[in-house]
């Protein structure tokens, strides 16, 4: 835009707007148009959630403008936040997500380092294999996984199904392959000379990983962490299948199963619960946004 202004400001020079600047102008207009459109589409549901969460049940069912709150109330928030059950769901979700993120990072970072740097027989095939496992949808996997855990229960007597901690074993099947794949890309973009310099300086493989690779690939690590957290936090199908009793549920499943009683939908509390549930990833995004974007671009150009 600034170049355009400068062109217009030069009255004596005959300004010829080349095809380049015209193209650029139109590209800008189109991108603004579509970006605004997408922003509106993406933001409408959460705004609707917010509006609904501030209404009483009576107002929700009343035939008024659904996009406006006439009698705002915090009763939904108070009820949910003072409900032990809801706090229990929240706690279950938090602990599952945090542990899964930790487990994922502990597995995928060394795995990615090995696959990216220690050239061994079949390492390239293995790297592709890791990614392929991610491509199998979880809606196909949950039945065999259920059978496996049932079998483990039969053979060992350790009954995992129905407990929240079964999710600690299941979520990594989603997060580890993808995070490993991202980290392979980041590690591969680190110049080879850097680990050679470290090795000559006397670093072991482990020291090269912890003291050179992890700090240098920190944006990638954060991107992977955010991904793993979001996947664990928002996962719905697996907890729905693997956990049943109310004290074992995680937030997304808990909201649906306890706030819908028969054919009665407690919309105000459902929306409030969903909004509160969306808060932790949002807070994490906000804190790590700069790193996350840096991570995304680094991966795109080099990974």
């Amino acid at each position: 835009m600034s170049t355009l202004a400068i062109d217009k400001a030069g009255p004596r020079r005959k300004v010829k707007l080349g095809s380049m600047s015209n193209d650029r102008l139109w590209a800008l207009r189109w991108s603004y148009f579509f970006l605004t459109l997408f922003a509106v589409i993406a933001l409408l549901p959460p705004i609707y959630m917010l509006i609904t969460s501030l209404k009483s049940s009576a107002e929700i069912s009343a035939a008024t403008n659904p996009w406006w709150v006439f009698h705002p109330t915090l009763s939904n928030y108070i009820e949910l936040l003072s409900s032990n059950q809801f706090l229990r769901f929240f706690w279950n979700s938090a602990i599952v997500s945090v542990v899964v993120v930790a487990v994922t990072m502990l597995i995928s970072v060394p795995a990615a380092f090995a696959l990216a740097r220690m050239k061994f027989w079949g390492s390239a095939t293995l790297a592709t294999g890791v990614f392929l496992t991610y491509l199998i949808p979880d809606s196909l996997l949950f039945i065999p996984l259920f059978k496996m855990f049932a079998l483990v229960g039969d053979l060992t007597g350790v009954q995992l199904i129905g407990r929240w901690y079964v999710l600690l074993f299941i979520y990594p099947t989603l997060t580890v392959p993808f995070c490993t794949w991202i980290m392979i890309g980041y590690f591969a973009s680190i110049p080879k000379e850097l680990d050679e310099a470290a090795i000559i300086d006397g670093a072991s493989w482990f020291q090269t990983l912890t003291r050179i690779f992890i700090p240098v690939a920190l944006p990638g690590l954060i991107a992977a962490t955010i991904f793993a957290f979001t996947v664990s936090w928002a996962q719905f199908l697996y907890p729905l299948v693997f956990t049943t009793s109310n004290d074992q549920l995680v937030l997304p499943v808990g909201i649906i199963t306890t706030l819908i009683k028969g054919d009665v939908f407690n919309w105000g509390q459902i929306m409030t619960g969903a909004l509160l549930g969306a808060a932790p990833p949002l807070i994490i995004y906000a804190f790590l946004m700069d790193y996350y974007i840096a991570g995304l671009t680094a991966g795109a150009t080099k990974g």
Binding site: E196, A197, A198, I200, G202, A203
Partner: protein, 366 residues
């Protein structure tokens, strides 16, 4: 401080032989430069000395011990890379001390060594900066500092100046030479730039296609090349090669270049080539500085001839001239006042006291 010895060292990648059995003895405190075109095996050789590449066959010894299976960190070497390879998240001081910290040196000693190296390299003010805040030349100094503080047995340089601009390269070249004068450590330096090789080395190792073509002091290589490759690679502009034949005219040995141009050989050269076959396909090797403008008082062995110049390149202190003889382009160096101009005629002289005769088929200097 240590000598480095290579014994029949071979490096094979699947079906490619990158290094084909080289023998090299590097004396203690010596500055050796491996030079050659890309793909000649010089970097691979250096990386094998460093331990970054396994060797396929042969032995590498550092300080008398065979180090074939010794990991890089136990070889007591330091290496400077072409792209600096500084740790981007560490300050200059942290970069330099990384190796020492891993070996758990006392803090006071680490600091003393960093201070000394920083002073030597004139980077004292940069010690707390990150690599991204440094210029290319400064980064290369830090990379050298990182090598110096380790006080290793051997320094390895892998084309350290290739990423710098021409002016900085000359400056850093002098810097490296100064450092080597202060820290007299055995040094192996790889470059494709023959000027760097000539200016830095105690001895130059010219490599080609995985083999050593010749080892010698810079002057030795320049004046007494063993092969056509060395003769053509060392020196800038490169040596001229002209197809020629030896002839006996009136009992005296002559070298014939064209039908018109036949030069009598000076006595020393005549004696040297007395037994060379008259039927062999030969090349006359002449450096550009031995093709100059003719002057009035002819010296022994300096033979005049006329040429029509194709192109002239005024360099200030001299003018480079290019002309064609028997289809071969010849480069000469004349004084700026010699009256050389593009397309113009000029009376030139060749100094046959400094000529070389090569076998055109084998490329060997006779």
């Amino acid at each position: 401080m240590a000598e480095v010895n290579l014994r029949k060292v071979v490096k094979r990648y699947d079906d490619v032989e990158a290094v084909r059995g080289i023998d090299l003895d590097i004396a203690d405190k010596e500055f050796i430069v491996l030079v050659g075109p890309s793909g000649c095996g010089k970097s691979t050789t250096l990386r094998m000395i460093a331990g970054l590449e396994d060797i396929t066959d042969g032995d590498i010894m550092i300080g008398g011990d065979v180090v074939n299976d010794v990991p890089p960190k136990d070889r007591d070497i330091a290496m400077v890379f072409q792209n600096y390879a500084l740790y981007p998240h560490m300050t200059v001081a942290e970069n330099m001390s990384f190796g020492l910290r891993l070996k758990r040196y006392p803090k006071a000693e680490i600091k003393a060594r960093i201070d000394e190296a920083a002073r030597m390299l004139d980077i004292v003010d940069l010690i707390d900066r990150k690599p991204k805040q440094l210029s290319g030349g400064q980064r290369q100094r830090v990379a050298m500092g990182r090598a110096i503080v380790r006080n290793p047995k051997v320094f390895l340089f892998d084309e350290p100046l290739s990423n710098l601009d021409a002016k900085l390269r000359v400056q850093m070249r002098i810097e490296i030479k100064k450092v080597h004068q202060k820290v007299r450590t055995t040094t192996v330096y790889v470059t494709h730039d023959q000027v760097e090789a000539m200016t830095l080395a105690d001895r130059v190792v010219v490599m080609n296609k995985g083999r050593i073509e010749q080892i010698g002091t810079p002057n030795d290589l320049y004046h007494n090349p063993a092969t056509r490759f060395v003769a053509g690679f060392i020196g800038s502009p490169a040596m001229n090669f002209l197809p020629c034949a030896l002839e006996e005219v009136a009992g005296r040995l002559h070298v014939r270049i064209t039908d018109r141009i036949v030069f009598p050989l000076p006595p020393a050269k005549a004696a040297r080539y007395q037994n060379t076959s008259r039927n062999e396909k030969l090349l006359l090797g002449l450096r550009p500085e031995h093709v100059t403008e003719a002057n009035a008082h002819g010296e022994a062995g300096v033979e005049p001839f006329d040429a029509v110049l194709d192109v002239t390149e005024p360099m200030g202190m001299e003018t480079l001239i290019y002309f064609t003889l028997e289809g071969a382009q010849v480069c000469g160096r004349v004084s700026p006042n010699a009256g050389a101009r593009d397309g113009g005629p000029l009376r030139l002289a060749v100094d046959l006291n400094n000529m070389h005769l090569l076998n055109e088929v084998t490329g060997a200097v006779i």
